[in-house]
């Protein structure tokens, strides 16, 4: 059996040359959490199964900065590294992989140009092509009032809308149907973030994760809302997620990665200790 993965996420602001890790609440109110190279090394040593970097500034001239950050990170980190934020072309993929990344995640570029998923997965392989989906609940009174896939949640029925540009723009696209399309186009993995839960520490959006893991065969990484190890357990047990992504609980030393893994192990979840 493949072990469930624990993945710390480093949101990087590249306005300073060495980059800095930041953490926002519901995609806003940015706080600084440290240096990307040092944090990545620390997480690797604590037993992270993979490390995700998201360039939240993602403007063109900063792409070079991200390449340098990844080069420096890869010298000390011997687990897979995934990079996202502003990746637009197959060339961007190969550049990041050359710098030492193993995977790239795309969101905005994939929605604007879905063919990019097909092309990238052919050139760099599905295993290196991750599609990130930022999903926002849209509640409905009656499941039949929309043609979108409707999920029953603790607060009533809703469908999920894809957002792009780091949560700044909504697309009208059904996140669940989109996840299925991404798989068909060759994506190797879905990084699924709940915008409603991100930064809240109320737990992952289980109905969302469950619905998507039911419908796709590629691995799904749960993201957004983790506040304690029980939330991670729920993402695996109730949501069937393959991996759990977390930021602030690790950045602010509320829990260490090994604490979380020990907790999961004791509850019977297969993790790499």
């Amino acid at each position: 059996m493949v072990a469930k993965r624990i993945i710390p996420c480093l949101d990087c602001d590249l306005q300073v040359p060495q980059g800095r890790v930041v953490k926002g609440v519901e995609f806003k109110n940015i706080k600084y959490a440290g240096n990307p190279v040092e944090l990545a090394k620390k997480y690797y040593e604590e037993g992270a199964d993979e490390i995700v970097f998201l360039d939240i500034t993602a403007s063109h001239e900063r792409r070079e900065t991200m390449t340098h950050v990844i080069e420096a990170v890869a010298e000390n980190v011997f687990v897979p590294i995934c990079v996202g934020g502003g990746i637009k072309t197959v060339n961007d993929f190969t550049k990041m992989l050359k710098a030492g990344a193993d995977k790239c995640s795309i969101n905005t570029a994939a929605i604007k140009n879905p063919e990019l998923i097909n092309k990238a997965s052919k050139v760099v392989g599905s295993q290196a092509c991750v599609v990130a989906i930022d999903a926002k609940r849209r509640y409905v009174n009656d499941p039949n009032e929309t043609d979108k896939i409707v999920v029953k949640t603790e607060k009533g029925y809703c469908w999920y809308e894809c957002s792009i540009y780091g949560g700044r723009k909504f697309t009208g696209i059904d996140a669940i149907a989109w996840a299925m399309e991404c798989e068909e186009r060759g994506a190797g993995e879905i990084l699924l973030t709940s915008m409603d839960r991100d930064g809240t520490k109320e737990g992952y959006d289980i109905p969302l994760i469950k619905e998507i893991t039911k419908r796709v065969d590629i691995p799904v990484i749960a993201s957004g809302g983790v506040g304690n190890p029980k939330h991670i357990y729920d993402a695996f047990k109730l949501g069937n997620a393959d991996a759990a992504l977390a930021a602030s609980i690790f950045h602010y030393n509320e829990y260490s990665i090994s604490d979380v893994k020990k907790y999961l192990w004791e509850k019977g979840v297969e993790v790499r200790l």
């Binding site: 059996m1 493949v2 072990a3 690797y44 199964d49 011997f78 392989g125 190797g188 991996a243 790499r272």
Partner: protein, 197 residues
């Protein structure tokens, strides 16, 4: 001298970084003269079988001669698969045929096989010195089926039992990525280096 064959495939920087971490210098090169004199060859690989075979063509004879001279070789991931005769991924394309057998598609609930999986040791192999049944990082959709399963030193399970480590005379290969498998992966690379010390 340890040489990594740079045939335009794979995450060479990660392999370099991993060896650097264990204090070993490797020569990542496409220079045939250097490759010919290498004591040890490492064949990396990420991507599709056919593309790898096209790109490795100029180095094919050097690799085969290296193996025939009894010098150690290490294939990693797709670098393991191209050591075999052929692959379902690219029908009609011949592999290096150093190990008789065919590479076939995984039949499992989730493909690609991506993530950390446990290995089970099948026979003694210097690569696995001081390693028991730990977790290693896999990322692949095809796996090798050797004609003679005695070449398999360790397996993992994903849909069926699949070779994780090949160990046959001077031929070594891993289906997982040792350079991305944490301390245990680094240990494997270290064990490989010990072979030529």
């Amino acid at each position: 001298m340890i040489a990594v064959v740079d045939y335009g495939s794979g995450n060479l920087r990660s392999i370099m970084n991993a060896f650097k971490n264990i204090g070993v210098n490797v020569n990542v090169t496409n220079d045939k003269e250097i490759l010919k004199t290498a004591d040890v060859l490492i064949i990396p690989g990420v991507g599709a079988f056919k593309k790898a075979m096209v790109n490795i063509e100029p180095f094919k004879d050097i690799i085969i001669e290296h193996v025939e001279d009894g010098k150690p070789i290490l294939g990693i991931c797709l670098g393991l698969q191209i050591l075999f005769t052929e692959s379902e991924e690219s029908p009609g394309v011949m592999g290096l045929n150093i190990i008789p057998g065919k590479v076939v598609r995984l039949s499992a609930e989730k493909v690609p096989h991506m993530g950390w999986n446990k290995i089970k040791i099948k026979k003694e192999c210097p690569l696995l010195n001081d390693i028991k049944d730990g977790y290693f990082y896999f990322a692949h959709s095809y796996y090798a089926k050797p004609k003679d399963w005695n070449v398999v030193a360790a397996t993992t399970y994903h849909g069926s039992e699949i070779p994780a480590v090949i160990c046959h005379k001077n031929i070594y290969a891993t289906q997982f990525h040792p350079e991305k498998s944490g301390t245990l992966g680094l240990k494997i690379l270290n064990n490989f280096v010990e072979l030529v010390k």
